[in-house]
C-alpha cells in the first residue's frame, strides 16, 4: 500500500466500517478472524443498508452473512481485480474529480518504460530481477518538475498506460482464470462499482488471503487502483483495511521488529555508500534529497528548511533519525560523533534477512543463537519440517511464552513423530540435538500492563487484573533483566565495537518491574534539556540533539498532567463520539498514530476546494478549510499541512508526489509499477495472461522442491478458524477452545471425496514435496471444484493452527507449505501450492 499512498497501515478503523455503503471482503474470513468487524458491518446494514460482498476460495462463516458470495481460485486476485479495473474504465464508473485532483493519473511516464508479455522494461532473467530506472516520470528541463496532462489523453500519461495495461483483463478471460461463475463476477462488479458515485463510499477489507502469495504486494496494489478510481480513499466508510492478525503486530511493526526498518518505518542502514555516515544516510532516506548539496548536517538542515522538491512529509526524516539515536545513546550521541549513527548495525546491502532467509541460514548452520518471543515457527513457519531442522542446528535458543509450545519443545521425541516415512524428511531424536534451550515463562496479557496498537492504529492501555501464574514474569521484566545482564558483562570494556551496548541508555524506574509509562515516555519523545514529553507531536522534533524520540510516529502520545506527572493518552477512556455526524471517531478514547488521526488521507473526504463536501455526502466530511482561521478544522486531525491552503494541501503527504499513485514509480516495487497476473509458484494450470508462469521477480529458494501437477494434482491452501488463534499456542491450551475445535482437519469437496474415496470423518494423509501430515477429513458442500480454463480443479483446505502440544492437537499444515515468498515482502506463499490427498 505504501507505494500507492505512502503508508502501509489500515487506513480507517473498526468502528468506521459502519459508514460504508458497500464492503468488499476479499482474502479475509472476517467473521472468523476479526469477528467484531461484523458488528460494525451489521450496524452499517441497520443504519444505511450496507451491502457485503465476500470473495474467497471457500464458502466460510463470512460468506454466510454476505449479500453476494463469489468463489475465486486461490492466487488469482490480480486477474479478478484487473477485470474490475477494466470494467470501471470501460463503463466510465470512476470518480473523475477525485482521480484528477488526488492521484497521479495525469503524470507522464518516461518513454523508455514498457511492458510486454508479462515483463516490464529492465528485466534481467539471470538475476530474476528488474533494473527499474525506466519506471519513472517525465520531467521538465531542470529535472525536478514532473510533466502532466490534465486532460488524461496523452498516451504516456499514467491513466492511459493503466487503461492499456488492464485492457487484456476482459470478463471472460478473468473468469477462465479465476473459476468464478460469470454471473457472480458480474454481480460483484456491478455492486462494488456503484461506489464510484461521489455520494457512495466502498471499503475493502483484506487479510492474509491477499498477502500470502508470491504476488501479495501487487494484490494490494490492485486494491489501491480500484479504490482510487472509485474515490474511496481517505473517506469515512472507505479505505483499504488490512485486518492485522496479531493483537500488537501493528505496534511491533511500528517498533521495527523487522530487519529492513528501524522504529518509525525508516530504512535500516546498510553497508553501502549511501548509508556510510549520518549525512549520507539522512540524504538517502529523505525523498528527493539525493542531489542536495550539503557538506554537513547544518547545511542539510538549511536545505530542509528551504524545502526539497518531491520530498513529501518525509522531508523531516533527519529529525526522526537523530532523535532516535539520541534516545538510544543519550550523552554518547553527540553532533561531533554523528550522534552515534555508527553504533547502528549496518546490514549487508545485497542480503535478505527475512523470515525465510533466516531459516535458510539457520539450516546451513550460519546462526548460533535465537530469541523466540512468543512465536511458534514449528507450527507457523512455512516449510515447517525444514524450519524445525534448522532449529536443531542452533547452539542456543531463548524462548519466551506462557506455554511450552511446539517450538520450545522442538527437540522432544513427540516433535519428530511423522505419520508416514518419507526419505526426504529427516527425523531427529533428542540426543542428536545439541541446542541449549532457555525457556522463560511469560505472564498473560492481563497479568501485566502496557499498551498495544490495534489494527486501526488505536493504541490502548491494558491494565493488570491478576497476578502472574507461579514465577512467570512479564516480557518487559525479562527484556529488562536480559539487557541489564548483558550490559553488565560489557561495562568495563574499552573496545570501540562494544560501545553500542555499553553506552545504551537503559533504566525504567526503580522497582524490579520496569514501568511501562517510562518506556512509553522514551519512544514518545522528550526534550533533552528538561526530560519533558513533547506533547506537540513529531513536528516539534529536531535534528540537533535537543530532542530524543525512540519512535517518531508515537510522538504526541504522552503529555503532562496539571500536576506535572506524565499523562499517557492510551489510558484515556472517554468513549463519547466526538464526530458531529455520528461517524464513530472516538478521538478521546486511547490515542492513535499519527497524531491521533483516526482516518488517514482524510484530505480526500472533501472536494479539492477544501470547503465543498462531495455531492450528497455532507455527513462524511472529516475536515474542512477554514479560510478565516487559515487552517484545516474538523472532527478528525487533518492529514495535510494544517495551514496549507487547499490548492497546496496534498492528500498523500507521505508520497513524494503528494498524490495517490496508480503507477508506482521506481524504488517502490521489485516486480512492476502495475499489477500483472502470474500463477502461484506451484499451480495446476498455465498462465493464461502471459507466458511468465509465476512472478518473474520472486526469489526461488528451493527450485528442487517445485511440485509437479502429475504427482500433486490439487491446490492446497491454509487458513484459520475463529476458535483458534494463529499457531494455536494461545488457544489450544485453553480447554474451552480446545473443546470447540479439538483436532486438525482438512476440508474437501464432496466431488474430491468421491474421487479419492474419502468420507466425512475419515483419517487422511496430505502430502507435498515438503512433507506429509495426517488429519481428519471434513467433506463439505462449502468447497466446490473450480472450472479453470475448461478444466476441473480441486482444492484441499487445511487448518494450519495445530501441533503436538496443548489440549487440541494435530499435525502442523505448514509441514506442507513452500519456502517461496512475495517478491517485495518475502511473505511466504501459504495460500496456494500443490498437494495430494489419500485415505490414511
Amino acid at each position: 500500500m505504501s507505494p500507492a499512498f505512502g503508508r502501509g497501515a489500515m487506513t480507517n478503523h473498526m468502528v468506521d466500517l459502519k459508514n460504508t455503503d458497500v464492503a468488499l471482503i476479499m482474502g479475509s474470513n472476517m467473521a472468523e478472524n476479526h469477528p467484531i468487524g461484523m458488528k460494525w458491518l451489521g450496524e452499517g446494514r441497520r443504519v444505511r443498508g450496507t451491502k457485503i460482498i465476500h470473495v474467497d476460495p471457500r464458502y466460510t462463516r463470512t460468506s454466510v452473512v454476505a449479500d453476494v458470495y463469489a468463489p475465486m481460485r486461490s492466487g488469482t486476485d490480480i486477474a479478478f481485480l484487473g477485470g474490475m479495473i477494466k470494467y470501471i474504465l470501460d463503463n466510465d464508473l470512476y470518480h473523475k474529480e477525485y482521480v484528477n485532483a488526488y492521484t497521479n493519473a495525469a503524470y507522464l511516464v518516461a518513454d523508455e518504460f514498457d511492458f510486454e508479455d508479462g515483463l516490464f522494461s529492465g528485466y534481467n532473467a539471470d538475476k530474476r530481477s528488474y533494473d527499474n530506472t525506466t519506471w519513472d516520470y517525465q520531467y521538465d528541463a531542470d529535472g525536478t518538475t514532473i510533466l502532466k496532462d490534465p486532460t488524461l489523453t496523452n498516451p504516456r500519461c499514467v491513466f492511459e498506460l493503466m487503461k492499456k495495461h488492464f485492457s487484456r483483463y476482459d470478463i471472460d478471460s478473468v473468469c477462465k482464470i479465476t473459476g468464478t461463475p460469470k454471473n457472480k463476477y458480474l454481480e460483484v462488479l456491478k455492486l462494488f462499482c456503484t461506489t464510484g458515485a461521489p455520494n457512495k463510499v466502498g471499503n475493502i477489507m483484506y487479510a492474509m488471503g491477499i498477502t500470502q502469495h508470491t504476488v501479495g504486494s501487487q494484490n494490494v496494489k490492485a486494491f489501491t487502483i480500484v479504490q482510487m478510481l472509485l474515490g474511496n480513499m481517505g473517506r469515512p466508510g472507505g479505505g483499504i483495511n488490512a485486518l492485522r492478525g496479531e493483537n500488537n503486530v501493528q505496534g511491533a511493526t511500528d517498533m521495527a521488529l523487522l530487519f529492513h526498518i528501524i522504529p518509525g518505518y525508516i530504512d535500516s542502514p546498510m553497508n553501502s555508500k549511501p548509508h556510510k555516515d549520518l549525512l549520507s544516510f539522512v540524504k538517502a532516506v529523505t525523498p528527493g534529497a539525493a542531489n542536495v548539496q550539503a557538506n554537513n548536517m547544518e547545511e542539510f538542515r538549511a536545505a530542509v528548511a528551504a524545502g526539497i522538491p518531491n520530498s513529501g512529509f518525509k522531508i523531516n526524516s533527519s529529525k526522526w533519525v537523530v532523535s532516535l539515536l539520541k534516545s538510544w545513546w543519550g550523552d554518547a550521541s553527540k553532533p561531533e560523533n554523528d550522534f552515534a549513527y555508527h553504533y547502528l548495525p549496518k546490514r549487508e546491502a545485497t542480503k535478505n534477512y527475512s523470515h525465510i532467509a533466516m531459516f535458510e541460514a539457520m539450516d546451513k548452520g550460519e546462526i548460533e543463537g535465537l530469541f523466540v518471543m512468543g512465536t511458534n515457527p514449528v507450527v507457523g513457519g512455512p516449510n515447517a519440517n525444514k524450519e524445525q531442522t534448522g532449529l536443531s542446528k542452533l547452539k542456543w535458543m531463548v524462548s519466551c511464552d506462557l506455554w511450552l509450545n511446539e517450538t520450545a519443545e522442538f527437540w522432544t521425541y513427540a516433535a519428530w513423530e511423522r505419520p508416514v516415512e518419507n526419505d526426504k524428511v529427516k527425523i531427529l531424536s533428542p540426543k542428536d540435538i545439541q541446542t541449549e534451550v532457555f525457556f522463560l515463562p511469560a505472564a498473560a496479557v492481563f497479568e501485566k500492563e502496557g499498551t498495544a496498537a490495534q489494527t486501526g492504529r488505536w493504541v490502548q492501555y491494558r491494565w493488570k487484573g491478576a497476578e502472574p501464574v507461579g514465577d512467570s514474569r512479564s516480557d518487559l521484566w525479562m527484556i529488562d533483566h536480559m539487557a541489564r545482564g548483558i550490559m553488565d558483562l560489557y561495562k568495563d570494556s574499552t573496545r570501540p565495537e562494544d560501545e553500542p551496548i555499553k553506552n545504551l541508555t537503559w533504566g525504567y524506574g526503580h522497582g524490579d518491574e520496569p514501568e511501562p509509562i517510562l518506556v512509553g515516555h522514551e519512544y514518545s519523545g522528550y526534550t533533552v534539556a528538561d526530560n519533558k514529553p513533547i506533547s506537540a507531536g513529531f513536528a516539534a522534533l529536531k535534528d540537533d540533539g535537543s530532542t530524543a524520540c525512540g519512535c517518531w510516529i508515537y510522538c504526541g502520545q504522552m503529555t503532562t498532567k496539571p500536576d506535572g506527572s506524565l499523562d499517557y493518552k492510551p489510558m484515556h477512556r472517554d468513549n463519547v463520539d466526538n464526530s458531529k455526524t455520528g461517524l464513530g471517531l472516538y478521538s478521546n478514547w486511547g490515542w492513535c498514530w499519527p497524531v491521533n488521526r483516526r482516518i488517514i488521507y482524510n484530505r480526500c473526504s472533501i472536494q479539492p476546494d477544501g470547503v465543498t463536501p462531495w455531492p450528497g455526502d455532507d455527513d462524511r466530511v472529516l475536515i474542512r478549510w477554514d479560510a478565516a482561521a487559515g487552517a484545516w478544522v474538523g472532527d478528525d486531525v487533518c492529514d495535510t499541512g494544517k495551514t496549507s491552503p487547499p490548492d497546496k494541501a496534498n492528500p498523500f503527504i507521505m508520497r513524494p508526489e503528494g498524490k495517490g499513485c496508480f503507477f508506482a514509480a521506481k524504488g517502490s516495487f521489485k516486480d512492476g509499477p502495475f499489477p500483472e497476473h502470474y500463477e502461484p509458484w506451484e499451480s495446476p494450470v498455465r498462465n493464461l495472461m502471459n507466458s511468465q508462469k509465476f512472478n518473474p521477480a520472486t526469489k526461488v529458494w528451493e527450485p528442487e522442491k517445485l511440485g509437479k501437477v502429475e504427482e500433486y494434482p490439487f491446490i492446497g491452501t491454509t487458513y484459520r478458524v475463529v476458535e483458534h488463534w494463529q499457531t494455536g499456542a494461545l488457544t489450544r491450551n485453553l480447554p474451552w477452545l480446545a473443546e470447540l475445535m479439538p483436532n486438525m482437519f482438512v476440508e474437501i469437496s464432496e466431488e474430491l471425496g468421491k474421487l479419492r474415496g474419502i468420507d466425512n470423518g475419515d483419517k487422511i494423509i496430505m502430502s507435498t514435496t515438503r512433507g506429509d501430515i495426517e488429519a481428519i477429513a471434513c467433506v463439505t458442500k462449502r468447497i466446490k471444484p473450480y472450472i479453470v480454463d475448461g478444466k476441473e480443479v480441486h482444492m484441499v483446505g487445511a487448518l494450519w493452527q495445530f501441533g503436538f502440544k496443548g489440549y487440541a492437537t494435530g499435525d502442523p499444515a505448514n509441514r506442507l507449505t513452500p519456502h517461496v515468498g512475495d517478491a517485495n515482502t518475502m511473505i511466504p506463499e501459504y495460500k496456494a501450492w500443490l498437494c495430494d490427498i489419500r485415505r490414511a
Partner: protein, 209 residues
C-alpha cells in the same frame, strides 16, 4: 422496573476506580428466592485489551481479592461494555480469556490454575530429553554469557564496502530474533532497542509471515 442510565467506569492513572457496569437499560427487583447470586457483583472490573486478533476489543477482568486487596483468583473475564470497538462483545476466543490463567476441572468442576501454564524457568541441556527447573538469576546470567560469547566471536566491526572504503558496520549475523507481535508496545520497543544495540540484523516478527 425503573429505568437507569448506563454507568461508565473511568480509569485514572494505574488503578481502576470502577463500579459494576450495568448494560440492560432497566432495573429489576431481584427475586427474593434467587438460588444464585451474581459472583461479579460489586467487583471492580479491570480493563484490558484482548490478546488475540488485532481488532483491539476491550475486556474486563473480575477477580476475587482478600481483605488486604491481594489477588486470590479470577472470577470472570468478559467484554468491556465501555470500549467503543466492541461495546461488551467478545467472540469465542475473547470470551475464553479466563482459561488463559484458570480453568474448571472436567472431572470435579473445581477451579484450578491452567495446568499448561509454565510456572518456573526451564532449561534443556544439549542432547537431553528433559527440562530442568532453574532460577531466574541462573537463566539470566547464562543467557547473557551465551549472547556475549556468540556476539563477540561473530562481531563485524568494520568492513570494506563496494566502493572500497571501510565503514563501521557493528553487526552480528550469528544471533537472530523472531517474534514480538504479541508483546506490548513498550516490550517490542525495548526488545528492538536491545537487539539493534547488540548488532542483530536477523530481526523478524510475525508481520512477515
Amino acid at each position: 422496573m425503573k429505568v437507569t442510565r448506563r454507568q461508565f467506569f473511568k480509569v485514572t492513572g494505574a488503578s481502576a476506580a470502577a463500579i459494576a457496569a450495568v448494560d440492560l437499560g432497566f432495573d429489576l427487583e431481584p427475586a427474593a428466592a434467587a438460588a444464585r447470586k451474581l459472583r461479579i457483583k460489586n467487583i471492580k472490573p479491570v480493563p484490558t485489551v484482548c490478546p488475540y486478533c488485532a481488532s483491539g476489543c476491550g475486556l474486563v477482568v473480575y477477580s476475587e481479592r482478600d481483605a488486604a486487596g491481594k489477588f486470590v483468583r479470577l472470577l470472570s473475564v468478559e467484554g468491556d461494555p465501555d470500549n467503543p470497538i466492541n461495546r461488551g462483545a467478545a467472540c469465542a476466543k475473547g470470551a475464553a480469556m479466563f482459561n488463559l490463567r484458570e480453568i474448571y476441572d472436567a472431572e470435579t468442576g473445581e477451579q484450578i490454575i491452567n495446568p499448561k501454564r509454565v510456572k518456573k524457568p526451564l532449561y534443556r541441556a544439549p542432547g537431553s530429553d528433559k527440562w530442568e527447573e532453574k532460577s531466574w538469576e541462573w537463566m539470566m546470567a547464562e543467557i547473557a554469557k551465551r549472547v556475549k560469547d556468540t556476539r563477540d566471536r561473530s562481531f563485524i566491526h568494520k568492513e570494506k564496502i563496494a566502493d572500497g572504503s571501510e565503514v563501521i558496520v557493528n553487526r552480528t549475523e550469528k544471533i537472530a530474533s523472531l517474534g514480538g507481535s504479541g508483546l506490548d508496545n513498550e516490550e517490542a520497543y525495548l526488545h528492538c532497542k536491545l537487539m539493534r544495540a547488540l548488532g542483530v540484523v536477523y530481526l523478524e516478527t510475525q508481520a512477515r509471515i
